[in-house]
């Protein structure tokens, strides 16, 4: 559908065929049946408008909103028929609203244009007419030959033609596309790979045929036809020939490629879903409320019309002598009159739909979102990045999040692995300044350390530096050309050498081994070369026993320089220790457990020496298994397990996948706030689980369920049922679920319900091996589940873009993997830890602000229009307005607009530090609680009640029109004047403006000078304006209804008394209600309000984990909180511990809090009390 529209609009050329033909360098055939094809240019467009279509498109977009459209209709009705108010009364506010919104949207689109221009204007080199031309990225056309230099990203999807290497290969990293950081080798076809210079390329005559653009990153089917010496050579092209836009060239000086997919047709762009308009839950309930009000409006109008005609049935009301009808009125058809009467009532009551609601909400969101960028707590010192708001439409959604989906690499972790410790032969070592220091020794002798390394230690290091699949990239690619890459591999210029590995652990290990002195310097065909303390050693690589998740280990079989055959194996301790026959097995096991408890990722290293006979047997078995035609897998497994036994245990390594700062605390805080955290990662299952454990997502006490490697539907369903049963049987322990991508897609295809059931009962879910689109799918699954939870996705790479766009709120982490995630996110932050403040503080603020804003708007418009409705009962339903037109127009845009706007920008129910230290407060506002139907009903009824007080109060107090108008002027006696209908209306209006403003004042908890200014200023402005407006005969108005009305009103003493009593009558029940609720059923938010704002000690306390527990304990023991805050951290934490242990007798029914139990240190009573 969308594509069809885009095609019609000319964004996409129509696709006539399944394939596209790309003429390299755009050398079209001179003869034959050449049909010119239109391809998209290389512009990336994320903006919505252009200068030309801004006005019509924006107007169209704005009038799609029901409220705006409704006001347009009202305006048109006013233009067409005789209505009680002039078209200006609704035209002016509408114009105001539309203009403000257009300015805001225009500004936002301008920002997007700027970002687009930055991308589209990036310089690229293109081969044109025989020379290399620098141009802008957006100018690349399909068929252009593009040159890309090392470390640059590809500006379009290119078919690789040639590289500076002889074999025409190049290395790329697709980290920003799928998050994989390892180097991938891409190839060119031999016919083109020889064209390494511009002039050779110029002579190249080739045609690429490939399928039309599609989103799958790993699929590319095409062929290239090279014409050489009049002869056509056809070669197939596959994904290994395609360089994707967004990927980065590594390790290769330069490449040439022909652009096949450009701009919005590149695979990267196709993987971005089109920017869908995200709507927040608040906006949805706002629309519901609007519809309800529309219903109220319609029923009021219908009722009024019917009553009018019922009344008019009697002739004496229809046409009394004093109010004769004109000829025209007498003659017009009754149906037409009925309709026009109905429309007139609609116009009269239309103000019940708050016109300025949308514009105020937009201004609030737009202005309010600046606070996120301004927040110093969200500013990351090291990278000099502050939080960034890409769309302000979702501010309040930050306060509603129920599920957080987070990427792992780069989001939870720094994307930096560090080797920390190891255990060799039963002795623990730490790495200090590039040296291994045995445990117990604090200070190592400066130079003696290397000499002390014994045989086992060296062997261990050799194992580490040989048993891996790491590749090397050299910074200066020309060194490679120079032929001897190893010349740079000495300790001094090691910085020029970079390791690339699919597993960051391997990379860290190899790097560590290099630092300590055993450097892996290169792989040259069958030989691996290492430098052991400066001594070059060449090992012949005989066999690689690849890693597989069942065995959970990998091995290499090498021939040592001395000719011996040696097996090194490395893997999870459970995969190696049982097969070890020698070495310090028990000690190592202890050490491994110790490392793991510290949250480090452990691997165990072992070796086995083969005697020549043994090796021959091994070799035979392996070769047989590998060449087996049947049951190859099983036979390989058999061979592997035969080989990998009788191992000699060398030791264990501990790598810290450096978590980002305070990830654990953040996840903890999110949990306490009632948010479920799911980790979605493209990583391997083991890596994912270990990170999950180390960041506190999984706990060691958790029962970890696995849904892995499901191959068939039935198997998957069976496993799911098993898991569900296990959860049921064992509901005291928390469960964590690990799913991998393949099983997930099976589970989602057929057993969605069952899967959801299992997921919901797990306190932590980890999905590994996820493709980008799968991540988005998981998010969508949760999003569309019956409860419709609010989801938030956070990620840093282009592979997270899908889920970032799919989730209700998408957060980009400004990490190392490019800025795609940031660009496509709704909010971008520098570090994961900022999420806590973003949600708990900003989300809370925005939510309460906007929720009150919405409710208040409906309330104040009910107050506004109900008296007008009631007045119809006293004026024969003649559509007489109660208030003057100017008051009707200005009520919403002047008299009552600013206090609520300022409120909605500055209100803080609870101090931010308290909010952050007590994540439980987040639950108070979860599930859109402040906009529930109950609160909506409360505000609406309150509006009606107040309106009745205004109207009937004034009605009774006015008596027969003369009673209130005391003595005319207060001090001049002897006058007793007419009140008149306008004075009556003004009295009602005055009471209303004062009451409505003071009602907001009652709601305001955070009175800055601005609140004071606008609140009292609004009332003062109303009085001053009225005096001014009534004080002048306005030459351009044809009635002077309001002339001196206001002064006359205020000059009466009893009118003042009337105003005061009506205002107090309206407000005092509200105050009573608030006080009684506050004391009888205080919410935890209210409880924490009475806490004094935490002082600086609390702030510093915040820095540590203990503070979170504090906040929690404070929840139940308010009295103790202050003392706890101001010191005695450890003591109270211990208390906390103790109490949590003692009270672990939770009931099974409170499933909602099941999350919290996953945290050892959290006391369950608190969570239930909060």
């Amino acid at each position: 559908m969308l594509r069809w529209i885009r095609q019609q609009l000319g964004f996409d050329p129509p696709h006539q065929s399944d394939t596209r033909t790309v003429y390299v360098a755009n050398r079209f055939p001179q003869h034959g049946h050449y049909i010119p094809q239109r391809f998209a240019d290389n512009r990336i467009i994320s903006s919505k408008y252009t200068v030309w279509n801004f006005v019509p498109k924006n107007l169209f977009e704005q009038f799609r909103r029901i409220a705006n459209f409704y006001f347009l209709i009202i305006f048109l009705v006013q233009l067409m028929i005789d209505t009680p108010t002039s078209p200006v009364t609704s035209g002016l506010p509408l114009f105001f609203v539309i203009t403000v919104t257009a300015i805001k949207q225009g500004y936002e689109d301008w920002l997007r244009h700027k970002a687009d221009n930055e991308v589209n204007g990036a310089p690229v080199f293109v081969v044109r007419s025989g020379c290399l031309v620098q141009t802008r990225s957006k100018n690349i056309r399909v068929g252009d030959i593009v040159r890309v230099a090392k470390d640059e990203t590809f500006p379009a999807d290119l078919a690789l033609l040639s590289s500076d290497r002889v074999d025409g290969t190049c290395h790329i990293t697709t980290a920003s596309l799928d998050g994989e950081t390892n180097l991938k080798t891409h190839f060119s076809v031999p016919e083109t790979s020889v064209c390494q210079s511009v002039s050779q390329l110029e002579a190249l005559q080739a045609v690429v045929e490939c399928h039309q653009p599609e989103a799958d990153l790993y699929r590319f089917v095409g062929r290239i036809t090279v014409t050489q010496h009049g002869e056509e050579i056809v070669r197939p092209l596959g994904p290994e020939n395609l360089l994707l836009r967004g990927a980065r060239l590594k390790n290769t000086k330069e490449i040439f490629g022909v652009a096949v997919y450009t701009g919005m047709e590149s695979k990267m762009a196709l993987n971005y879903k089109c920017k869908s308009q995200k709507r927040s839950a608040v906006e949805k309930s706002m629309n519901t409320f609007l519809l309800i009000y529309l219903g109220i409006l319609l029923s009021e109008a219908v009722l009024s019309t019917i009553l009018k005609y019922a009344w008019q049935a009697e002739d004496k009301w229809d046409e009394p002598f004093y109010n004769q009808k004109t000829e025209q009125e007498k003659n017009s058809s009754s149906i037409l009159k009925f309709i026009s009467d109905f429309l007139a009532f609609l116009v009269l009551y239309n103000f019940i739909i708050p016109i300025s609601l949308y514009v105020t909400v937009e201004m609030q969101k737009f202005l309010g979102s600046f606070f996120i960028g301004w927040d110093l707590d969200l500013y990351h010192e090291e990278s000099d990045q502050k939080a960034q708001v890409n769309t302000s439409d979702l501010n309040e959604e930050l306060g509603q999040v129920e599920y957080v989906f987070t990427d792992k690499t780069g989001t939870l972790t720094e994307n930096e692995m560090r080797f920390q410790e190891c255990s060799i032969n039963g002795v623990k070592y730490r790495e200090v300044n590039g040296k291994l220091v045995p445990e117990g020794l604090t200070e190592d002798s400066p130079d003696g350390s290397t000499a002390h390394l014994m045989g086992e230690e060296v062997l261990f290091l050799q194992a580490v530096s040989l048993c891996h699949t790491v590749q090397i990239s050299y910074d200066q690619a020309d060194c490679l050309v120079g032929g001897d890459p190893f010349s740079h591999a000495n300790g001094f210029s090691s910085s020029s050498m970079e390791y690339y590995a699919s597993s960051p652990d391997e990379k860290a290990l190899v790097e560590a081994a290099k630092r300590i002195g055993v450097a892996f310097t290169g792989r040259n065909g069958e030989t691996m070369e290492i430098k052991t303390f400066g001594k070059c050693e060449k090992y012949k690589l005989l066999h690689v026993l690849e890693f597989d998740p069942n065995r959970r280990r990998m091995s290499v079989i090498l021939q040592t320089p001395s000719g011996g055959k040696l097996l090194f194996t490395k893997g999870a301790e459970s995969a190696i220790l049982p097969f070890s026959s020698s070495g310090e097995i028990e000690k190592t096991r202890l050490h491994v457990d110790e490392f793991a408890l510290k949250g480090m990722r452990t691997l165990v290293v072992a070796c086995r020496h083969f005697s020549p006979e043994e090796y021959i047997d091994v070799d035979k078995r392996l070769t047989a298994a590998r060449t087996a035609l049947q049951q190859r897998e099983e036979r390989l497994q058999e061979a592997f397990s035969h080989i990998e036994r009788d191992l000699q245990l060398l030791g264990a390594t501990a790598v810290e996948d450096k978590l980002q700062d305070k990830v654990q605390e953040t996840i903890e805080a999110l949990r306490l706030a009632g948010i479920k955290v799911w980790v979605l990662t493209g990583d391997k299952h083991e890596t994912a689980v270990s990170v999950s454990l180390s960041c506190g997502h999984f706990h060691r006490t958790m029962n970890i369920l696995e849904l892995l490697q499901q191959r068939s539907d039935n198997e998957c369903a069976e496993q799911l049922r098993r898991l569900a049963r296990r959860i049921k049987d064992d509901h005291v322990i928390q469960h964590g679920l690990v799913v991998d991508g393949a099983s997930l897609s099976l589970a989602l295809r057929e057993h969605e319900k069952l899967f959801m059931e299992v997921c919901k009962n797990c306190s932590a879910v980890l999905c590994c091996r996820m493709a980008p689109l799968q991540k988005a799918k998981v998010v969508r699954l949760l999003k569309t589940s019956p409860e419709k939870p609010i989801t938030l996705a956070v990620g840093d790479g282009a592979n997270d873009v899908g889920m970032i766009q799919e989730a209700h709120v998408g957060i980009g982490i400004m990490g190392k993997e490019g800025r795609q995630a940031v660009r496509n996110s709704d909010y971008a932050i520098a570090r994961f830890k900022f999420l806590a403040k973003l949600l708990l503080v900003h989300g809370h603020f925005y939510y309460i602000r906007i929720a009150t804003l919405v409710q208040y708007f409906f309330y104040k418009n009910v107050c506004f229009i109900t008296p007008q409705f009631l007045y119809q009962f006293f004026c024969l339903f003649s559509q007489q307005t109660l208030y003057d037109s100017v008051y009707l127009t200005l009520y919403n845009i002047c008299f009552t607009s600013l206090p609520i706007l300022v409120y909605s920008l500055f209100e803080q129910l609870v101090h931010p530090h308290v909010l952050q230290s007590k994540p439980g407060l987040y639950r108070d506002i979860s599930r859109n609680s402040l906009l529930s139907f109950r609160t909506f009903l409360y505000w609406t009824l309150l509006g009606f009640c107040h309106a009745f007080v205004f109207f009937f109060g004034s009605y009774i107090l006015m008596g027969e029109d003369t009673t209130l108008m005391g003595n005319g002027q207060i001090l001049r006696a002897n006058r007793q004047l007419m009140f008149g209908n306008w004075t009556f209306g003004t009295l009602v209006f005055t009471v209303m403006v004062v009451t409505v403003t003071l009602k907001l004042a009652l709601e305001t908890h955070f009175w800055t000078w601005m609140n004071h200014f606008v609140t009292w200023g609004s009332i003062a402005f109303y009085f001053i304006f009225s005096l001014f407006y009534g004080g002048i005969i306005w030459p351009f108005l044809h009635t002077q209804d309001m002339y001196f009305v206001f002064v006359q009103l205020l000059s009466s003493g009893s009118a003042w008394f009337a105003i005061i009593i009506m205002v107090i009558t309206c407000l005092f029940p509200d105050v009573v209600k608030k006080v009684i609720y506050r004391h009888m059923l205080p919410t935890s938010t209210q409880k924490s309000q009475s806490l004094p704002a935490p002082q600086t000690q609390a702030l510093s306390c915040m820095e540590s984990l203990c503070c979170y527990q504090h906040g929690q304990s404070g929840c139940s023991r308010l009295a103790g909180l202050l003392e706890q805050m101001s010191g005695r951290c450890t003591a109270s934490v211990n208390n906390c511990h103790a109490s949590s242990r003692n009270n672990r007798s939770w009931s099974d029914t409170e499933t909602f809090y099941s999350n919290d139990r996953s945290i050892l240190t959290l006391s369950p009573i608190e969570s239930t009390h909060c």
Binding site: Q324, F906, E960, Q976, M978, F984, H1038, F1044
Partner: protein, 338 residues
């Protein structure tokens, strides 16, 4: 060096405003603050209420219906307006002095001066003395805009339907009827009289109305409303001004005269009175009632016991609620709970 400058440029300002740390007053509506406030307000309101109530009770009101819809009324002969210039007389007695100044109102019920079409049917420019609108009155005035193409001045329904009963009050002393002087000055809004309504600047006034016709309901031309007093004639006739200020509700009173002069400055003394009514205004068509009211006023206006009662009720409610809150406060002592 350059980088450092960039650093500082990206760092958000550390000001109270940007960090949402503006100094703020954070009141909490807890019982401790509200109870004393309520007691104070309650007591004050009770005080005001008592004052208002007593004042209002002192106001004397004498109200008489003269519609004549039922046969017993002396004006029933005039009810159907069979005869033009019908006059009827109502006699009444006052038991005790109505303290002055006494205000004399006429009242109408079921009369919807607040109908929209009725209300807009006027031409404020005409009434402002703008003679250009004499020739072509505001189209809203229809059907009282033209009579066979001659413009009506003042045009429109409101002016056309002006109340035209007149009253004379006599005190019966020893069988003689002594007229009570009625003051018709200053019964309209000062601003209406002086600014909003103006006669055209033409002398004699009658010349301004050449080529116009009076409203069909009227028996006199607008420039003949008060031929004795130029400052009460034409558009600035006080009765006309009073009528032109539309009543808000269908049952209303309008001030007719004040009784302030001569012997009656202290009020209407006890005795027998007769009210001579020139009955012209038809109300039988819409079932309305006509009445006259004699009333005095207090410093806070006419008789209105409701205001005092409202203050008393709300004041006592405040006190009662503060007691309730006190009980709640004692029972659920928060936040000092454990």
């Amino acid at each position: 060096m350059v980088k450092e400058e960039e650093d500082s440029s990206n760092r958000p300002d550390n000001t109270a405003f940007t960090q949402q740390r503006l100094p703020a007053w954070q009141p909490i509506l807890s019982a401790g603050i509200v109870i004393p406030g309520f007691v104070l307000i309650g007591l004050a309101f009770i005080g005001i209420g008592v004052g208002l109530f007593l004042t209002s009770r002192d106001i004397q009101v004498l109200e008489m219906d003269y519609t004549g819809a039922d046969g017993s009324s002396p004006c029933s002969v005039c009810y159907n307006l069979a005869d033009k210039n019908c006059v009827c007389t109502m006699s009444f007695s006052i038991d005790s002095l109505i303290k002055g100044p006494v205000f004399f109102y006429y009242g109408l019920t079921n009369y919807f001066q607040n109908q929209r079409r009725y209300g807009v049917s006027r031409d404020d420019k005409q009434l402002y003395g703008d003679t250009s609108n004499f020739a072509s009155p505001n189209s809203e005035c229809a059907p009282y805009q033209y009579i066979s193409n001659v413009p009506i001045v003042p045009c429109g329904s409101v002016a056309n339907s002006m109340f035209n009963d007149t009253f004379e009050l006599f005190k019966n002393v020893n069988g003689q009827s002594l007229p009570v002087p009625l003051d018709g000055k200053g019964i309209a809004w000062w601003t209406d009289y002086n600014v909003k309504f103006q006669n055209p600047n033409v002398t004699p006034l009658i010349n301004a109305f050449n080529g116009t016709v009076r409203p069909p309901f009227w028996s006199k031309n607008v420039y003949e409303l008060d031929t004795t007093d130029a400052s009460n004639n034409g558009f600035i006739n006080q009765d006309f001004l009073v009528w032109m200020r539309r009543a808000a509700l269908p049952d209303f009173r309008k001030l007719y005269r004040r009784i302030t002069d001569g012997d009656y400055s202290a009020g209407l003394p006890a005795g027998n009175y007769s009210l001579k009514i020139h009955y012209n205004y038809p109300v039988n068509g819409f079932g309305g009632k006509k009445k006259v009211v004699f009333s005095n006023v207090s410093w806070m206006g006419g008789k209105n016991e409701f205001l005092g009662i409202a203050y008393l009720v709300i004041g006592s409610l405040c006190v009662v609620m503060s007691v309730v809150m006190l009980i709640v406060y004692a029972k659920f002592k928060f936040p000092e709970d454990n």
